[in-house]
């Protein structure tokens, strides 16, 4: 409300100032052209001055003065001609329209255009004021912690706090730096090492690198009950092709886990993958979902809930891109193609959805069961399959 009152006051003020010169009675201008004459008279004085100082000769001075004199004479002629012409009654009538045009033009153009362009409901939001009262806004809390650390980069507790938040927000480079700083300042702990390792794995598209494996091994050495570290250590064995060792490691995790722990189904699935007997009771559906490429993992889902809509959109777009890249390398995955097409449609990118559909149909032609599923999806989401059906 205050905004509207202020805008009204400004509009009134500007209109008033603009009307002011128009409110004097219409008077026809006098064509005296006194200003022009002043310039020529000054030029005459300049010639005299130059002559007095000997900068120009007598003859040149004479010529110059004659020339300037002719300009003055011509001016006097024009002045005589101009006399008698002036504004009449017609101009006075039009003159009354001028203040009216100001009164109409300023508020009308001003308000219409502003209502079209502006955001009258949004207050100004200086960062300092927002940081002083961040509420539940995770991004602001992070920014606050970052400022604190920029001033005191040796505060290990701050890095400890920030590192998992960075990881959840998929700011992996920052997360790695934060974990390393925390380890440097506060010393190694099983938690920090496992976090660092997990960050490195995430940075390398799920591959447990040498660095990461080393971190997990240290973490397990410090605390044998760190299931997260043990899981990744086992995963490293699996990725190295040491199936038996991996199975034994996964089975050991299962044995040490409390009943009902969240990771049981995932571990059980890996046991099965490495040639063991998966736990019969384990629900298989979530495990299958975990396998499909591009499905967000638990950490990503959790991170997503912390983000603003805009950041969330960005993160989703990033995950979809990753999925697209994986399908390009390994196109033999019908579930992946279906997800990709559906994701692009949800994001509103029809062109890419159509491209994905075409690419998917190349691997799974439309006369097969899988291809028909793709076409059915296209129909359901309203995507035109023109030019892709044989």
């Amino acid at each position: 409300m205050t905004l509207w009152i202020l805008l009204a006051v400004i509009t009134a003020g500007v209109s008033a100032v603009l009307i002011w010169p128009l409110m004097t009675s219409a008077r026809p201008v006098e064509e005296l052209r006194e200003d022009e004459a002043a310039v020529y008279r000054d030029q005459l004085r300049e010639v005299d001055r130059d002559r007095a100082q000997g900068l120009i000769g007598v003859e040149e001075a004479g010529y110059a003065k004659a020339e300037i004199g002719r300009r003055l004479l011509a001016l006097a002629d024009k002045r005589a001609d101009a006399k008698g012409t002036g504004g009449g009654a017609a101009s006075r009538a039009r003159h009354r329209l001028a203040p009216l045009s100001v009164i109409l033009c300023v508020p009308l153009i001003g308000l219409c255009l502003y209502l079209f362009l502006g955001n009258p409901d949004l207050p100004a939001q200086p960062l300092e004021a927002r940081l002083a009262n961040p509420g539940n806004n995770m991004a602001l809390l992070v920014a606050k912690a970052e400022r604190h650390l920029a001033e005191k980069p040796d505060d290990g507790a701050g890095w400890d706090l920030l590192a998992p938040i960075y990881f959840r927000a998929m700011r992996l480079g920052d997360a790695e730096m934060a974990y390393r700083n925390a380890i440097r300042l506060n010393g190694e702990s099983s938690e920090r090492l496992a976090g660092l390792g997990e960050t490195l794995v995430a940075s390398n598209e799920g591959v447990v690198t040498e660095d990461a494996r080393h971190a997990f091994d240290r973490a397990v050495a410090l605390d044998g009950r760190n299931m997260r570290a043990r899981f990744y250590a086992a995963l490293a064995l699996e990725q190295a092709g040491r199936t038996d060792d991996a199975r034994r490691a996964f089975e050991a995790i299962l044995k040490d886990s409390p009943p009902g722990a969240a990771w049981i189904s995932l571990v059980s699935e890996h046991i099965g993958k490495n040639g063991g007997a998966p736990l019969a009771a384990a629900p298989t559906a979530p495990a299958a979902a975990q396998k499909a490429p591009g499905n967000p993992n638990a950490a990503q889902v959790e991170a997503m809930q912390q983000l603003s809509p805009q950041e969330r959109q960005q993160m989703i777009a990033g995950m979809v891109d990753t999925l697209a890249a994986r399908l390009r390398d390994d196109p033999d995955n019908i579930e992946g193609w279906l997800r990709l097409v559906r994701s692009y449609m949800v994001l509103g990118d029809k062109a890419k959805a159509s491209d994905a559909l075409k690419a998917g149909l190349k691997t799974f032609p439309a006369d097969q069961e899988a291809g028909r599923r793709l076409l059915a999806l296209a129909k359901e989401t309203g995507l035109s399959a023109e030019g892709v059906t044989p």
Partner: protein, 662 residues
């Protein structure tokens, strides 16, 4: 709330602009004083509104209000305050707002200082200015609005392009825009003259201060930009014939021509139509520069954002104003009465030569800039027209121009005495040749072209001094009398001499650097030394450092001469964390007008570091000359004759003019 008020102020400025485009022009046509009186009031109101909007945006940057999209895109809460403020124009939207601010500032200045102008002329000029303002306000509000908001607001900004995080950004664009946009006033005067169908010597006198001011700021802006590129980009070059540089150089060339032709028009009422055409061309080239930089046609450090709709909008503005002005010119120019005649050997003749060469060189630069673009559009072929083309064409054109420069002030108006001028200049020419060859000998064995180049530079310097010397008549009168006469010379004479002298100094710098500079690319390890320009650089090693929003690796060098350590210099490579973007910060040491330039390259696998070292003799002369030219511009601008005709001052002036020694 304040943000929204700023946005609203900009919208109100547009409403005012619409009224301003119509009412005063109507008043001037109908001879209605009240409507004409609307022009100055409206112009000042418009400036206040735009300045308020600009102030609000600056405030949003200063307090890091990331609910403003433009701030979020181009700022970071941890940047130092100076970069936060200069970041306002370090992006497309903000720089257009600065453009607009300066445009309305010039309108307001014409409104306030133009009291000596005839009412009809002033009203028409301000209306034409308002057309330009309206066009750019529409452009800003509809395609490049800096007041768009984000909801919810992010917690941290995207940071400013690291290359722009420099003191140069604080001064280069404002100076350059003061020049670019200043020529809009000349354009408006020309269009007003065509509309009124009246143009005379007085017109030229009224336009001169605006041309001079715009030219002076443009000189400063270009020089500043060149120095900035030199120390920031780390390539050791000071001019690249980059299209964006050319875009600012073309209005400068045309503006220089305009400055000189307006002089002929003021004194002799000749070259009237040509001067009007030049005024239109100069601002057209400014607009063309804005189009090239802002439309995304070119990719360079200056093209912050590319968006085709903006390009088309600016192209429309360009077509409307340039096309419209030329149509008006074709229609009205034949009705203008042309002015006096003169002999080829006269000051006018010399100035016509100057105009001829400057116009041809502008056309050359224009061709070199646009040809690759046109070719790419038509055939898709990508070519680059670089330094070799410009050095050959532009460089050759400059030689006769530079030789003619000292003649201009020494020749009389109307009918000059070439022999007399030659006699006066041969001392200067002789001294110049001696100095040129002397310097060449001292620097040992440069090519002959360089000797001639240096001689031309010295010749310009001595020629400018000779002008003052003969005007004061030092040779013939006693020193005391001559000195009194020197003091009595009009300030515009000093302005001319300083500007020509500055040009000479710049030429000296350019020739000296191109001829005598040395470049060494060496791989250095800690404790190793390298030689450049007679100095020895000892590499002391690298050190890590952290800035407010970057991390850097700094290399330290100790500089010694003849075994004695005399200075030390840091050169660094920075990584700006928010954008993960690396930059180089060259280490520069000045010895007199010469500089030692150290730039760091990549690490080698064996632990060494690639280091580029330049020795740049007399390089500061290039920009020093520009500074002298700028001072000349200001001295000339302060000449009281430019204020003639102000009614309130007329009485006082008449009195002053009677005192002979003043």
């Amino acid at each position: 709330m304040i943000i929204e008020i700023g946005h609203y102020a900009l919208v109100l400025a547009l409403a005012t602009g619409f009224l301003l485009s119509v009412l005063p022009l109507m008043g001037a046509r109908r001879g209605d004083a009240a409507l004409m009186a609307f022009a100055p009031v409206g112009s000042v109101v418009q400036f206040v509104l735009v300045a308020f909007a600009f102030g609000v945006l600056t405030w949003a940057y200063a307090v890091s209000d990331f609910s403003v999209l433009n701030v979020w895109d181009n700022s970071h809460s941890l940047m130092p305050m100076i970069y936060k403020v200069s970041g306002v124009w370090g992006n497309h939207e903000g720089s257009m707002l600065l453009w607009l601010l300066i445009l309305t500032l010039f309108s307001a200045m014409v409104a306030l200082f133009g009291r000596n102008l005839p009412d009809t002329l002033r009203a028409t000029v301000l209306s034409v200015q308002a057309w330009i303002t309206v066009a750019f306000l529409l452009f800003i509000l509809l395609t490049s609005n800096p007041f768009l908001r984000l909801d919810p607001a992010p917690a941290e900004g995207q940071d400013l392009n690291p290359v722009l995080q420099d003191f140069g950004l604080a001064i280069h664009p404002p100076l350059l825009y003061l020049g670019y946009v200043g020529f809009s006033v000349c354009f408006s005067f020309a269009v007003a003259a065509l509309i009124e169908g009246r143009i005379d010597a007085a017109w030229a006198r009224w336009v001169r201060p605006w041309t001079l001011a715009a030219w002076t700021f443009l000189t400063a802006g270009i020089a500043m930009g060149s120095y900035w590129a030199y120390y920031e980009l780390g390539w050791g070059g000071w001019w690249f014939w980059d299209p964006v540089e050319n875009a600012s150089f073309m209005p400068w060339l045309a503006g220089t021509a305009l400055l000189h032709s307006a002089l002929v028009m003021e004194k002799r009422e000749a070259l009237k139509i040509w001067t009007v055409l030049l005024a239109i061309m100069t601002f057209s080239l400014s607009l063309l520069g804005t189009f090239l930089v802002r439309s995304g046609v070119l990719t360079s450090v200056h093209a912050f954002a590319t968006d085709p709709s903006r390009g088309i909008f600016i192209l429309a503005i360009l077509t409307f104003f340039i096309g419209g002005a030329f149509v008006l010119f074709a229609w009205r120019a034949p009705t203008l009465k042309s002015g006096g005649l003169f002999a080829p050997i006269s000051r006018e003749g010399a100035l016509v030569l100057n105009n001829l060469i400057l116009t041809v060189s502008t056309a050359t630069v224009l061709t070199g800039t646009l040809y690759p673009l046109v070719l790419e559009t038509l055939t898709g072929e990508k070519i680059s027209v670089g330094a070799p083309f410009f050095n050959l064409t532009f460089g050759l054109l400059m030689i006769p121009l530079l030789l003619a420069v000292p003649f201009g002030p020494l020749l009389a108006w109307k009918r000059g005495d070439l022999l007399g001028a030659l006699q006066r200049l041969y001392v200067a020419a002789g001294l110049a040749l001696a100095a040129g060859f002397g310097l060449l000998y001292a620097q040992s064995g440069g090519p002959v072209v360089a000797a001639l180049g240096l001689a031309i530079g010295f010749y310009l310097v001595f020629g400018a001094l000779a002008d003052l010397w003969y005007r004061a008549n030092f040779g013939k009168l006693s020193f005391k009398v001559a000195f009194a006469r020197l003091k009595g010379l009009p300030r515009s004479a000093f302005g001319t001499a300083l500007a020509h002298l500055g040009l000479g100094v710049t030429v000296l710098g350019i020739v000296a650097v191109t001829t005598f500079q040395t470049e060494h690319v060496v791989e250095m390890r800690q404790g190793e030394t390298a030689e450049a320009g007679g100095y020895t650089l000892l590499f002391d090693g690298m050190r890590e450092a952290v800035g407010p929003n970057f991390t850097e690796e700094r290399g330290h060098f100790t500089v010694s001469r003849g075994g004695v350590a005399i200075a030390d210099v840091w050169s660094s490579k920075r990584l700006y964390t928010a954008r993960r973007m690396p930059t180089t910060e060259a280490g520069i040491l000045s010895f007199g007008a010469s500089q030692l330039y150290v730039s760091l390259g990549d690490h080698m696998e064996d632990g060494g570091l690639v280091v580029r070292i330049w020795w740049k003799p007399f390089i500061l002369c290039i920009w020093g000359g520009a500074v002298i030219m700028m001072i000349g511009g200001f001295v000339s601008l302060s000449d009281r004759r430019l204020r003639v005709g102000a009614p309130s001052r007329r009485a006082k002036l008449a009195k002053v003019a009677l005192e002979p020694a003043e």
